[in-house]
Every structure is written in structure tokens, then in C-alpha cells.
Symmetry: C2
Subunit: 238 residues, 2 copies
């Protein structure tokens, strides 16, 4: 009998981790192809893929579409309790942020949105869709719903970089309470496409409801993050 001992996915994980830790592979570097790894370690693609998925779950590597596997750069530290802007805090962490406006339209609140925002059905809103990333990698898509009633003419402003800055400067409106809601799930087909991830990729959904100083709802922000791109930090003082 030639009885070759089966190669476990755990050993493939160990091997790949060591490559990354040794520095043979740096953040955003591409890993060798699945077939090449399999051949090198004398195993099958299924086992190699299993190992890759484990590392992906740990946030060590990530996938980009059908282009391959890459080493994950540091997570973006995001503190929703600090009044800071994406473009600023990513830069502060030594990475290059980018922001792309995908859509800006006037809509009317449907039943679902109205419920989430606590406004009447049919209330006029401005919907803004953005894609944001760090370096070469898109990290989240967001959908922002703004109440035109409280922010007249907001649809004509440049909102690509920061909505909060416009609200503060152009409307002399300060934020009051913010309600955050976070859940781990997986990406829809359309969101996955935008984030250059396979459908079903593990994601973090953040829903943020912002009020003004008088307690009126200003905006609803729905974010979908690649799970491995985010580290959430919140500071509470009671």
C-alpha cells in the first residue's frame, strides 16, 4: 500500500500563517493560486480551499471577486461616538481612504423606511449611496436617507465626502442622540458586487439613526462592511 497520510486543512492553515508572519507575504499581497498551494503541499483543492476559508473567517486573508486571495491589511478603527469623518480617521491610521458617490435621488419613505426612521409614509427623503474604501480595497457601502423637510436643498450639495460636515456648516444643525444597531450577517448579491466580494461574504451591518438637538430624526445611515475591515470602538460615559 502507498497509503499516503491525508493532509489536513489545519496544516495548510499553519503553513500559510507562517508565510504571512515571516513577512513573505505583506498586506494586500496576492497568495499563490489554489492549485499551486495544493500541489506544493500535496493535497487537493477542496482541502486548500477549506484552509483559505478558515483564514478568511479569522480575518487574516480576504477574497476579491474571482481575482484571488490577498493578505488583509489592518482593520479600520471606527469610533461612532467621536465626531470624525471617514476620510480623516482612515488617513490618520496611515491608509489612503477613498469615497465614491454611486447615486443621489429624491424618494418618498416606504413602509419599511418610515418605520425605521419614525416618520410618516410618503415623507420626502434624499437617498445617497456611497462606496468607501482604504487603499485599493472597498470596505463598505452605505445608503443614507436624509429628511428634506429638515434639510431643504440637501440634494444639491456635494455630499461625496461628508454629510455631517455639510449639515453642521450649511444648516447650523448639531447632532444630538445617535442610535446604533449592529449585526453580523452576509452580503446581498448587489452589495457583494460593489465590494468586489463573493455573494454571501460575511458582513457587519450597521444602522445609525441620528437626531438633531431637539430630538427630531435627521438621517438614517445603513452601512454594510466587509467583516474583516472593521474594528468598532465606542466610548460611553454614563
Amino acid at each position: 500500500m502507498t497509503a499516503r497520510k491525508a493532509v489536513t486543512s489545519a496544516s495548510v492553515v499553519t503553513y500559510l500563517r507562517s508565510c504571512i508572519n515571516k513577512g513573505d507575504l505583506n498586506p494586500d499581497d496576492k497568495l499563490p493560486s489554489e492549485r499551486e498551494i495544493s500541489e506544493r503541499l500535496q493535497t487537493t483543492r477542496v482541502t486548500t480551499r477549506e484552509a483559505l476559508k478558515q483564514l478568511e473567517a479569522q480575518g487574516v486573508i480576504y477574497r476579491s471577486n474571482r481575482r484571488g486571495w490577498f493578505v488583509t491589511p489592518d482593520r479600520i478603527k471606527y469610533d461612532p461616538s467621536r465626531a470624525m469623518f471617514f476620510m480623516d480617521y482612515v488617513a490618520e491610521q496611515g491608509q489612503q481612504p477613498f469615497s465614491r458617490e454611486l447615486q443621489k435621488t429624491k424618494i418618498k419613505a416606504d413602509a419599511e423606511i418610515a418605520l425605521m426612521m419614525g416618520v410618516p409614509i410618503g415623507e420626502p427623503l434624499v437617498e445617497l449611496q456611497r462606496l468607501r474604501g482604504s487603499g485599493v480595497r472597498p470596505v463598505y457601502v452605505e445608503r443614507i436617507l436624509l429628511r428634506e423637510k429638515l434639510l431643504p436643498g440637501i440634494d444639491k450639495k456635494d455630499l461625496e465626502n461628508s454629510v455631517s460636515r455639510v449639515i453642521r456648516n450649511d444648516y447650523q444643525t448639531e447632532y444630538g442622540r445617535i442610535d446604533l444597531d449592529m449585526v453580523v450577517g452576509s452580503l446581498s448579491v448587489t452589495d457583494a458586487e460593489l465590494l468586489q466580494a463573493p455573494a454571501g461574504y460575511t458582513s457587519i451591518t450597521i444602522q445609525r439613526l441620528s437626531y438633531d438637538a431637539k430630538g427630531e430624526v435627521l438621517e438614517l445611515d445603513l452601512e454594510q462592511w466587509r467583516h474583516d475591515a472593521l474594528q468598532l470602538k465606542v466610548s460611553l460615559s454614563s
Copy 2:
């Protein structure tokens, strides 16, 4: 040619979702075995398993050890900004909470812990490990590190149900600032075992550093949650 069209994992997902939505399967119900599903839908176990993993990522079903797949009950809504206790808010949401003390020992801060807590290396601490769940399902493990210096004799108290209550009532100490840190990752072998999940299961890591009113660090809380068991809600007032 007999050329049977390949069955896609997407169609298996659709089929299982419909079973759950129709009410054929209720929360915590066990799904049929992988082989049975495969045979019923004329496909292989690999494809069925792929579908099950997709539903797992979405949080629709969960695994328990080697016992099988089950329908996920509602997520526990957890608001760290409210002064509430696990046992209370789970009950409030109509589920039966449980809490089990796994360990309680006196230790000295090692380098890693000292750094996280901002205390000197070697500072005496009380380490408490607990396992908590809802219904029949364990949902998170936690490791609590308490500063004996500020909480003398804390190791002799009953801490199974609520540390915060003891601190408040027995030490007349109020909490001040709380720093939260959240990240999505995967379970270690030991944590997975405690949570009756396979190693590598997707998890949410929550790190909570609590200060007293004077700004002194009181405790460090390290929690590992099953990703599908938690919905985090935070209310911030600026």
C-alpha cells in the same frame, strides 16, 4: 446522454428557507440530516453542506457540535449603554437565560493583560470565567478580570449572576466611563468547545474596559459571542 442538470446550492438554500418561513421548522428545531436533504433534493452532500453554511452565515441556522443543524432563535438585543443585567434583559425578551460559572481564580496581570488594562505587570487580579446562554443554547463565554486593589474580597462574593450588581451594592462604587471594542473573528478551539460550536465558528469579540467615577480602571471583560446570537444596540448622546 442522461445529463442530469446539476443542482445548485442556491436552490437548496431557497428550499430550506421556505421550510423555515412556512413554519415547518421552528426556532431550535433540528433540520433533517445532511444525507437526507441531499437525497431528497437529488444532490450531493458537498452541495447541501455549502447551502447550510450559507444559511449559517446569514444567521438563519446554527450548528451544535456534531449534533446537527438547528433553526436560529431571535438574536439577543444587547445595549451596553443601559445599566442592565444579562439575566434580566434576556428574560425581558421572552427567553430563558442561564449563567454558569466556570472558574474563579486569583491571578497576577501578565504583560498582555497589564497593557490592555493599563495596570502594572504583576498587579493582583481576580479572574472569573462564565458561560451564558438562552434557552438550550450557550451564546457567549466571558472572562472577567477584576482589580482586587479596588475591590478587596471580591473573590469571595457570589458572582455567577452579576458582577456589576455586586460592585454597586457591596462596594458602593459607581461605573464611570466604559470603553468598548468589537471585532468579528472566529472561535478558538477551547471557546468553541464551551459554546458547542465547531472550531473556527464565526464570532464576535467584545472587549469592555470599565472605569469607576474617578477614572480608575475597575474591570476588563472579554466576551466571545456566537455571531448569530447577538444584536448590539448602543445609544449615544453627545
